[in-house]
Symmetry: C2
Subunit: 758 residues, 2 copies
Amino acid sequence: MSLWNIELNEYNKYDNEKYETIFTLANGYKGLRGALEFSKVGNKGNLIAGVFDKSYAQVTEIVNCQDPLGFNIYIEDELVDIDECNIHKFNRTLNMKEGVLYSEIYISTKSGKTMNIKSERLVSRNNVHRWASRYEISPGNFSGKVFIENIIDGTVTNSTKDPMSRAKHFQVVGSYDLEPGMALLTKTFDKNIQIIEATRIISEKDNGNAFKFRKYSEIGEKVVEVYETFLKKDNPITIYKYGTSYTSRDTQENLISIASKDLQLFVKEGYLKEKQDHIKVWENIWEDTDIKIVGDDLAQLGIRFNLYHLSSSAYEGDDKVSLAAKALHGEGYKGHVFWDTETFMLPYFIYTRPQVAKCLLMYRYNTLKGARKNAELTGYKGARFPWESADDGMEVTPKWGFDYDGNPVRIWTGDEEYHINSDIVFAIVEYYRATGDKDFIIKYGLEILLDTTKFWQSRVEYNKEEDRYEINCVIGPDEFHEHVNNNVFTNYLAKWSIKKTLEFAEWVKTEDESVLKTLCNKLGITEEDFHEWNEIQKKIYIPTSQNGIIIEQFQGYFNLADIPIIQHDENGMPMWPNLGEYKLGETQLVKQADVVQLMIMLSEEFSQEIIKANYEYYEARTMHKSSLSPSMYSILGLTVGDTHNAYKYFIKALYTDLRDNQGNTDFGLHAASTGGSWQSAIFGFAGLKVSKEGDLSIKPWIPEHWRCMEFNINWRDARINIRIEKENIFIKSDKHTSITVYEKKINVLANNFVKIPR
Amino acid sequence: MSLWNIELNEYNKYDNEKYETIFTLANGYKGLRGALEFSKVGNKGNLIAGVFDKSYAQVTEIVNCQDPLGFNIYIEDELVDIDECNIHKFNRTLNMKEGVLYSEIYISTKSGKTMNIKSERLVSRNNVHRWASRYEISPGNFSGKVFIENIIDGTVTNSTKDPMSRAKHFQVVGSYDLEPGMALLTKTFDKNIQIIEATRIISEKDNGNAFKFRKYSEIGEKVVEVYETFLKKDNPITIYKYGTSYTSRDTQENLISIASKDLQLFVKEGYLKEKQDHIKVWENIWEDTDIKIVGDDLAQLGIRFNLYHLSSSAYEGDDKVSLAAKALHGEGYKGHVFWDTETFMLPYFIYTRPQVAKCLLMYRYNTLKGARKNAELTGYKGARFPWESADDGMEVTPKWGFDYDGNPVRIWTGDEEYHINSDIVFAIVEYYRATGDKDFIIKYGLEILLDTTKFWQSRVEYNKEEDRYEINCVIGPDEFHEHVNNNVFTNYLAKWSIKKTLEFAEWVKTEDESVLKTLCNKLGITEEDFHEWNEIQKKIYIPTSQNGIIIEQFQGYFNLADIPIIQHDENGMPMWPNLGEYKLGETQLVKQADVVQLMIMLSEEFSQEIIKANYEYYEARTMHKSSLSPSMYSILGLTVGDTHNAYKYFIKALYTDLRDNQGNTDFGLHAASTGGSWQSAIFGFAGLKVSKEGDLSIKPWIPEHWRCMEFNINWRDARINIRIEKENIFIKSDKHTSITVYEKKINVLANNFVKIPR
């Protein structure tokens, strides 16, 4: 077993959708779900970042675009359909090092003909508009006529299997015969985004062409090319399928012209060259991002799976898109962007690929207009970032959903989950702390800080009696409890973010006063506002605990029914206790890290004693009904020495999708959990932290069976390599830097190894 | 077992296409293949008589129109898909007496929910534009939310499973929400025929509505209505699905307006009323057509199956369409009309429902323009009816096909199978003999006779040496032999039809000379032509036999390799002998009745001795590779006393589709064989014949185990009932008539039974 490969060796059609997610190939621009060409079972997906549409759907959602993957083989008149075949060999292998999906199947058809099909597929990271497949087809026990059918399918819908939500988001506006090759141009209904997919297939046999006849046709919303060939027993042919994709979001050029020109060039350059270039880019990505864990294959393979998909899901080429909760891997959560991006995924990019992190933050800057509209529409001022965000920053959280029993329930998160504003500010500050990118703060970051603070100013309620500011009727990270007052997470981060806004405003004023002046002018911020902000941040009510130790998640939480979690499943995860007469919201059961989340984000604000007590209190009450939770408990578990559970939660996080432990991998990647997995490794096991003063420190703890853990991080301008072994820690940096290791400040000279005994 | 019911009690998805054909519901206007709503496996079909298109296809073909049948049930989010269910009970029953398809399935879904679904479906014979279904849905072990999805699917293509032939023949030009109900309007590519399908579903529970919510959407080329309902355990709901269909061939009215108005009226009148009226029409049809066979359930059920589908396939409402080789039951032979109609199916209509027979003949009259064009394009004069005919009488036989090994072969039938012209003349004469419909001859029939004779005049070649007319390079009914000279069937019928033309011309001249004059003027026929025709018919070469007894099928046939048929399959049908070095066309093996066919059609021209000898000679050499063959051998077998084989061939013909004994029932009904079955019963077992002098006679022979055979026929103005029992024959007529029984002329007074001892 290579620790770079995710392998599937048995076929079960009921797992197709899960593996479509697991085997998704994406490059930040486009995600192609890992559909098996030779099965009709599944839910294929071609998601292009930023292509959103509402039309018939409940809310604006990512568009499942026309599918260019279609590739059928007919032996005489018999379609090779794996679900109708005997399968003698089945293997699909995602080579994460290369970013290439390999497969090999050996089947007998219903009529008894045998065929071996080896294939490869890649979505190019070298040129994000390109993707390709390669097929090696060997007839086993027959010689005969074979038809190869190349299809671009425009009948694709979103929510295909759900009749009430199913929606078609585009119409076909052009079908093109490229002689050979073909293209299908579509246009979304609402915003008229045009999308083109172009493909061509090329055969190779004995260094020459193997196709004897071609027929092109337009079949409703599909374009189809059929090629006739003649296969000889045990004499394989190779077919390359080239694809290019463009949208009117990317270019002003005529789409059919650019897509077909690029396709032509792609064919000329050849599959092999693109594959090599693509692998080279992936080598660079892995150079930045890999975490080596020696001695624990389970953890090694698992962490790479998470890093691989997280890297696949974003790139530096488009600052008007962000990373969705299900990434480019499925339609789940409608392609919407949540706090998942800033709170869970962004740290990975900040510390490994800051150019991508900047792009993700720029998405928020570029959607400020929508955030302002959200504030205005709900009666507030400034910018109110949406709980769920699509293309323009307007709130797109559905208003209605279904509970566990299928009854309609009002979804309140879009109305009440305000903490998203502070989460974004937190991310900007973290980005700045790690990169020192002043330019970003001055040009973009400060505007977000000011305008979100302006929102808080209008949102907080002054309680005269207590002389304090409150934030009532909210939802915190724990979504089991709605309409709560003074959620600590929300209030604490609001306070913190207002404070940071004041600090950054002060700092920018000294750097370039005109910038601040211009911003205040634009956003309508006066000196009085600054004073009021200062008052608010000082007086925001942070509920204290009964005993000064355990923090009450929100006002009144301690009065709720305290129903103990008694049973755990085979993975050690909590099972639902009997709620008796209580509704879920009437208990202290928590969906996911909330106070715990706060203690990770603002760890410098809490003593070790308080952290430990709160970790223990909430760990006993958390159901982990969100994939965002286990990784966070892993981090805090390591902080407080609960290493057994920390490791359990780490593995749980790593295998969220590979083991489908939330039961919905079908619908896309648990992207937050991929970021949480990285955080758990780096912030947890390596104990990496930035102090209040802005200094970098590590405090590693690794399990007994790990012989070594090694990774790179970007810190300011430096690339630091950290290798944690049983006895020693080795640190190397390409620039002179300093780092605190177990409370001791270490100077690291450029390109010199420093060895620190543990 | 009711002898009116075709039942299927076991489900096997691989039989779906076969049963789609067997369970097709048609009314002459429209055929809806018997797709099972709850399976995705199959090849659904909605064929509307006369709707032809070529566009991307090889030749003009019947259009598989948008499918209005779509009806999905979702239990919560789980689609009821029979191929994913455990099946506890499965029954589909075609009640042929009523023309209603009943079904009942009881299944458990993958998640373990049980449901019983009873349904009915009819394609109304009372109003050919209407069809409907009724569903009774009972949840077994659950109560819960259920979605009902009503779909009209415009993604339908022809030859869906064959990538090289697949073609889309229409585009969607209108999607309509009828609130409730919906309609989809399409338009064919070539001739802009517009087709509308409209449907509405109505629920009923405790005498009230059961639907709680409706959502309409347009999904690409589909329109979809989803209804939400809540089912209680063991508490069934009933859903009626109403449908109307119109095309721009039928009406000048706005299609959406007429279809939705009719739909509204249909719903108002109710399913039950339409069902009753529909059954009443079928009662009348059965009154005209049924053949009772007492003592032989196999034959009784089998003959009704054939009569049922033949009756379904044509009606008196459209004289611009005819009955295709696969009827309205499938896309096989592209919906083309062959000699099958006139030679095999028409006698049934002539003797039972002459108004339909007239319509079928009118189709030929109405396509004379195309037939004239065919003659002109191939260098001849007059009218040359196409071997394969679609909407306009132009030749639409494909030029290329594939042999048994999949190699492309030139198809010559469209170039050389000239006998179709005489087959049509033969049918006209037969129609006239049975009905005495002078008006038809004067207005339409004679023109066909004259113009086809004009074709023969230009086609025959004068052999000066032998002083005879020859017809060379032809294909006779036996298509194993191409480019043959002087095929006896072709030459004999050409001779006969020219002779009949001269007789009818003479007769019309005496009836109304101006008619003949006008026709001669229009068709360019002079007195010299009449003389030449007479010369030709006298001197057409009819190859004589070596010994004066066995007729040589064509010149040179006796010189071919005489390879004996050695083996027969379990049904007693011949198996391919080893051809050795010979190609099929180099042997005396015959595809189907050829000389034998001639001896049935023109039996009065041959002595009993010659018929017997030729029957035996060719029976030993016929492979029956056409479903047109067994019934004919059955008839001639009875004539010559080979009763054992005659019965075998009769059963073979009856069960052509029910036992799929040609292996291609998937693609549609073997319509010629249904007509052949009727002929075998009536012309064979009852021995019904019209003498040269035009007198009706019967000469029954029935198998030992038949207690009785009874049927009605139309003869001139009379309806004659004939009941053949072991000892006696009973004859009754509603008008005074005479009939020859076993060579003895019997007078039958109106409404009196005549009993004739056998």
